[in-house]
Amino acid sequence: MLTFTIRRLLMAIPTLLFISLIIFLILDLAPSDPTANLPLTIPPDVRADIRASLGLDEPIHIRFALWLQQFFVNEPLNLFEHWTGWNFGGEDRTRVISWQTRSPVVDIIAQRMPQTLWVVGTAYIVGILIALPIGIYSAYRQYSIFDQAGTFITMVGFSIPPFFSGVLVIVIFAVQLQWFPSVYDTTHVVIGWDSFVIQIKQMILPVMVLALQITSQISRFMRASMLDNLTQDYVRTARAKGLKESTVVLVHVLRNSMIPVITVIALGVPQVFGGAIITEQVFKVNGLGHLLIGAIQSGDLPTVQTLTFIFAVLIVLFNLIADVLYGILDPRIRYD
């Protein structure tokens, strides 16, 4: 398993380099110009100087190499210095700068990340915690009232897009009932119990909308996987041993059923970091999805490029984690 993991990690390096090249080349096709939103009175030669100062007059391979250096060497060193307080004399290291805000992209991402993780991450965990019992019980009592109701609700959750369900819960809970705020206040700081309650309250609506989607997906997976296993011969063997029904279902069947579900859950984690673009828009959560959309709209290529690449890294990483989990859970899978 260890050899497998190391081999996969090494293989991830060329994969990610290739992905970064593709992202770079595609974004290079975009007609975005960092000086486009500067005042029109700036003469063309000054604009050319500005572009040159950003390195944009270099040939494409030089620019790609410089980006690689900034992203893989300069930014990690910066982070390292920031965390440890040491100094490697990095004052003149160039950083990936956002064209829109003129500040380093990584710093912006570091600011936005907590919002996304709080809202989307909580929704993911809540969604999974609700989905697993529903899936297990629906499968165990297939075609019961509970199962039928569960199927109906998950189908609804599947098919209603968040721009509808988001607005719907705002109308119901924020406008009519006035229980929760409709806008997520990013500047809110938790300092005590009261502010914590406010934080929870403002999280409830976006979390509800996202958790509905996540629950729908995962519970369907869980149910299907349980159904696959409940009819297996080994379940009859477990019953023939005189084991309790709860042991049969929650030990013998569940352990087998979790194998595909765990991988689906692991593969979904990058999406958590990616943010829920639409839901973040609806509730004005100032997270990564929000950042990405804003960057795309204003042609802020460095931000788009960095975010896209970070998502790519997460996807590759969690694919690997899913594979490793698969190997741990299923003794029939041995990678070595």
């Binding site: 063997t237 019953r239 005189g242 352990r255 299923d330």
Partner: protein, 335 residues
């Protein structure tokens, strides 16, 4: 050998199992009665769908209910009626007093747990053993069923065992708590012929060593001839003939049994002869039987067979048959 004085360990009366399905009821088992004597090996033969497995699963509550409904009885085992017993009481019988070996050893073991864990499970559950003792006992059991290097193999997973070895593991699990009765549901069907012979030898050995009674479900008459003491022949969810194994092969009474015996290839017979088949399909048991289930495929059928379901009648000391036709005289007890 066994005689009438040997006490019964399992006494089944009028067991009936019905499955409710979307297209109507299926009467899978109809009024099945039999008994099992201590230490004997009772063979149950019949083609697929004849109700052999469902009968045995029903009496210990292993058929899913719903859709199944098990009625009739009593099914007496160790002074207890299994049909009226609670789930909790049944669980104490299953795996402890009655062990099971199933057909397909490839799928009957849980793929994600080690073999040791699966053998230890009934020991810890029914015998209250702690981990260390259960492990020691599991090692003994694997030794007993002839798995080499048992101590090391406890930590292996089912996929690391061959089919024959997995079936030995299943037998070890079934025998773990020293059961009074072992129900083997086609334990050799999914195995190669050479492995079949090994497993049959092993079961005979174990029966002699441990003295439990065995119910051996199969559709292979050759296997039955080699190991059984008594045989039940099932057809259409009923017992159509019951006899000691010698009587059954020497003097089969039911047309179905006779036909079944003709389908067995004989190495000493004429080579040119084609193997006989029983024409037609087994019945679909939509309603409770009111006629002989075999009548459509029977070459001796007459009017009465479609009016009335023949009851089992004695034709020898321990030989009974559910048929109106008498093979000796060729006469039909037509009324």
């Amino acid at each position: 050998m066994l005689d009438g004085a040997t006490p019964s360990v399992l006494d089944v009366k009028d067991l009936t199992t019905t499955f409710k399905t979307r297209v109507g009821a299926v009467h899978a088992v109809n009024n099945v009665s039999f008994n099992l004597k201590a230490g004997e090996l009772l063979g149950v033969v019949g083609e697929s769908g004849s109700g052999k497995s469902v009968t045995m699963m029903s009496l210990i509550g292993l058929v899913p209910s719903p859709p199944a409904r098990v009625t009739g009885g009593p099914v007496m085992f160790e002074g207890q009626d299994l049909l009226t017993a609670s789930n909790e009481q049944l669980r104490k019988v299953r795996g402890a007093r009655i062990g099971f070996v199933f057909q397909d050893p490839m799928t009957s073991l849980n793929p994600v747990f080690s073999v040791g864990f699966q053998v230890m499970e009934p020991l810890r559950k029914h015998m209250g053993m702690n981990k260390t003792r259960a492990r020691a006992r599991a090692r003994e059991l694997l030794d007993l069923v002839g798995i080499p290097d048992a101590a090391r193999r406890l930590d292996d997973f089912p996929h690391q065992f061959s089919g024959g070895m997995r079936q030995r593991v299943m037998i070890a699990i079934a025998l773990a708590c020293d059961p009074k009765v072992l129900i083997a549901d086609e334990p050799t069907t999914a195995l190669d012929v050479t492995i079949q012979a090994q497993i049959i030898e092993l079961m005979k050995d174990l029966r002699d060593k441990l003295g439990m009674a065995v119910i051996w479900i199969t559709h292979d008459l050759g296997v039955i001839a080699g190991i059984a003491d008594r045989v039940l022949v099932m057809y259409g969810g009923q017992i159509v003939e019951h006899a000691p194994v010698r009587d059954l092969f020497a003097n089969p009474r039911h047309p179905y049994t006779r036909a079944l015996l003709l389908t067995v290839p004989n190495v000493r017979g004429e080579r040119a002869q084609r193997l006989r088949v029983i024409e037609g399909q087994p019945p679909i048991l939509r309603a409770a039987p009111t006629a002989c289930p075999f009548r459509d495929r029977c070459e001796h059928a007459f009017d009465r067979c479609s009016r009335e379901n023949p009851a089992r009648r004695l034709v020898g000391p321990v030989h009974d048959v559910a048929c109106f036709w008498d093979p000796e005289t060729g006469a039909s007890s037509d009324v």
